[in-house]
Symmetry: C2
Subunit: 513 residues, 2 copies
């Protein structure tokens, strides 16, 4: 039996928060006054080993925070999370559990789903991945012409692409890839044309990722790749692997090709990085041990999200901050600004994860919502963003910002000093300065140079760019998203809104063909 | 004498539009009813040679459009544009003209600014660029160790980066770069660390772009690059060029280094792609002739924006569509979705161009605005975006979308057929389907599968990815942005909102050092 819900705005806490938000437009409650409180940081931040969340520059006070936790309690958010982790049907509209946490669960020995042990099945796929990539890395498995593999093209779109690309981009700063990955999501033929310029077909592996093995873009790119290999006189069977559901047209249990690896319908695409979807390409790139370290990082955050009391629970608190900003302060967006080049693809991943999970118009029990659901997520790395759209952040229509800082950079061999500081210090000085400037503002009689301030932000800090830290960051965003969905009474696991376009495109294609 | 303005919401047309917008919430005015009109496309689209703008799926009718044109008339938008092009002080707060159009003006023989002929000065720099890059391409100019150059790292941030990166990314699909460009905007040391992994220091040129030659990030990266070259025993003088203002610390008229190329204070960073800022790197990459073709494309759009009557003027009309959506229908954002991988960096460029130009809280004459100014710009290429955040676009809080289609792809040698269509047809089918689905919606008794529709979009179509077409696209966004600024009574050329952060960062650095 799955979770039940009723409209969030019938909760008593929701009504109280609505009242509290009205009085909060008063000038005495501006951020520049709130942050003066000595205990501000202590009261509005949570630290765990390797991860820090500072929300002291959010427009809230203790009574509001208390009421937000009540809201989470009334919505039974923690119960829903616990049900999710243990395999209950939390995805009610599709009658499925949502077991992405099981892919990195080193604690529960067994999760039974009907008669299948999910943990056993996942471990089986991981062993298969480990064996396969070791044969590639040891050069036992080679392409048609006997050359060993140097590159892999990942054909997949949406959830079969964005998470993996984020993690690959983040890790390759610190770990030299053994196999270089290239991503081919788009049906745009120029996406294909650009990639084949950069690879040697004889040393290239193609990884096809599609749960159903019917995704239009992925099948079109597969056909394009098959034609390409044929024209190069290469044997596709020696250059292809598939990641797909058991029994799909791409599943190959007899092993006629190089291999096929199963994904499961109890893990949604946008939550699938830690399944074979990320597991195979990331292990190919960085070795299975590094993928395993990444899973460990995710698991650390999962356990925190599951077990920490509400007041010390980072993903749950961060979900409440979002709900306060969207439902009560009426902000239409959230900018995610990592002060870290390596995290440049975090935002596109979270954009999908969050907007596809929470961009809904109905509650999980099928009622039209009359409260705010998901907001727009956008962002670019800082300091770049400062020289791009931060003009609007400071002086235009305000939106909350989530800063992300990384304590130790990867490249720290030979650093130059400019104006007395290293580049990494300059980067941090800028991040701190932006959060402060947005909150405090600055008065100027020249209105063009006046800063109103009172613009909210949070700051997340991770230690470094190791697989463990990237795992914690990924799992934080997943847990925050599902918590926000649970509290808002939504189903964060379905995506019926993508269907209409597919149907209409098929109709148009019939006319074209 | 520069343009004068008064608050946009005192215009009579603004009041009328406010009234019209109220009646427009009626169900009879839903898009699915509006688009039934036989003449809908004819009345709500504009075509010029090589560029088409279809706004038939915007939530407006003829009386509204008429009133919007009146608003542009009352704001004297076309006069302001004409003043801008002829060198008047349209950037009043900084007491400067805004003469980006002069960098590609093949029509006016002369533009006098005080006693200087702007066109003459620009041509002089372009000649210098042409001579320099020919020496590089002919391998007459080489690095310290006598090897010819293969790569260039562009050090610059914000306006010295985003536009150039967009054009480089777009053109390299169709034109094989002679010199590969790498972009180093961020002060993040890992941005530097990642780039030096991919270049050979002996064959690499460094291009430093900063108007003042004091930009903190750029100077920090310059110092990092100098230290790197020193450690490799290479002579910086044989590996560096600068693009900077006359008389700045990086200006080198005596020619002790490889060269320095001037940029001018009458061109703002975010409008500077067609100046030496884009001219040198893009000519290095693709040859001067291709850069010249790109300028020609820009000039075509400039002439259209300047000379076309309001009703046939694409950038002006597109600016009015934005104003209608932000000021009257209260949409907080605009998504830009090119159905084209090559345009993947268009959105970050337009994000800066638009949000830095229009993200303001005061009118050009220093009064606090009490109308909406710039909105949030975000986006990813389609069909990728469909598998990412389009769930929210269809069923969550609505926002307008700008689709961009490209008629002819670059890679059209060997295309496979899937389900009876080529990939490029599939791409187009999807773009058309999305616009239709968003507008029309679909009724379903299951509310989770119901699509409310009435979600507005525009569609821009360009012919191809040639330099001329990319030039038209770039100049369209520039002209639309300034038109929107002129009509809203803002100064689209200053950016005082970026100053506070800089000051605070300097203070924090003093503590750190």
């Amino acid at each position: 039996m799955g979770r039940k819900t009723f409209s969030i705005n019938l909760h008593k806490a929701y009504q109280n928060l609505t009242d509290l938000s009205k009085s909060f437009k008063d000038k005495n409650r501006y951020l520049k006054n709130l942050v003066k409180n000595r205990n501000r940081f202590k009261n509005f931040s949570i630290q765990i080993n390797g991860f820090s969340y500072d929300f002291s520059k959010q427009r809230m006070d203790k009574p509001i925070l208390k009421e937000l936790f009540k809201l989470a309690g009334q919505a039974r958010a923690k119960d829903s999370f616990s049900q999710m982790v243990s395999g209950k049907i939390v995805n009610a509209t599709e009658n499925r559990p949502a077991l992405h946490t099981a892919t990195r669960d080193f604690t529960q020995g067994k999760i039974l789903l009907n008669d299948m042990d999910v943990i056993f099945e996942i471990n089986k796929v991981n062993k298969q991945i480990k064996n396969f990539i070791e044969k590639i890395h040891n050069k036992k498995l080679k392409g048609t012409t006997g050359k060993s593999f140097t590159d892999a093209v990942v054909i997949g779109i949406g959830g079969s692409y964005l998470g993996c690309e984020f993690v690959y981009t983040a890790l390759k700063h610190g770990i030299e890839p053994i196999i270089n990955l290239h991503f081919l999501p788009n049906v745009d033929i120029d996406n294909f044309g650009q990639i084949i310029k950069t690879i040697d077909p004889e040393t290239c592996l193609w990884i096809i990722i599609s749960k159903s093995y019917t995704t239009v873009e992925t099948m079109a790119n597969l056909n394009q790749a098959l034609l390409f290999l044929k024209n190069k006189n290469l044997d596709p069977a020696k250059h292809f692997v598939t990641i797909t559901s058991k029994g799909s047209p791409g599943d190959d249990p007899s092993g006629s090709g190089l291999g096929s690896f199963n994904m499961f319908d109890f893990i949604g695409g946008r939550y699938s990085v830690t399944s074979a979807v990320g597991g195979l390409p990331l292990s190919l790139a960085f070795g299975f041990d590094n993928f395993h370290r990444f899973l460990k990082g995710c698991h650390t955050m999962d356990l925190h999200a599951l077990n920490s009391p509400e007041e010390n629970n980072i993903p749950l608190t961060a979900a409440l901050v979002n709900i306060w900003n969207s439902n009560f302060l009426d902000y239409p967006a959230l900018a995610i600004i990592p002060y870290c080049s390596a995290l440049s693809r975090l935002c596109p991943h979270v954009q999908q994860l969050y907007m596809e999970s929470l961009g809904k118009g109905v509650t999980i029990d099928g009622k039209i919502t009359n409260h705010k659901t998901g907001v727009i997520i956008f962002g670019e790395p800082g300091t770049n963003a400062q020289h791009s759209f931060f003009q609007l952040a400071h002086q235009g229509s305000p939106f909350p910002i989530e800063f992300i800082g990384v304590v130790t950079p990867v490249y720290n061999k030979t650093q130059a000093i400019s104006k007395g500081v290293y580049n990494h210090q300059e980067l941090w000085a800028n991040m701190i300065a932006q959060a402060k400037g947005l909150a405090m503002g600055k008065n100027d009689d020249n209105k063009a140079k006046n800063f109103t301030g009172n613009r909210p932000s949070s700051t997340i800090i991770i230690n470094d760019l190791t697989p463990e830290s990237i795992g914690m960051l990924l799992a934080f965003y997943e847990a925050r998203t599902v918590y926000e969905g649970f509290i808002l009474g939504l189903n964060p696991f379905d995506q019926f809104g993508v269907e209409l376009g597919k149907v209409l495109a098929t109709d148009i294609n019939k006319i074209l063909s």
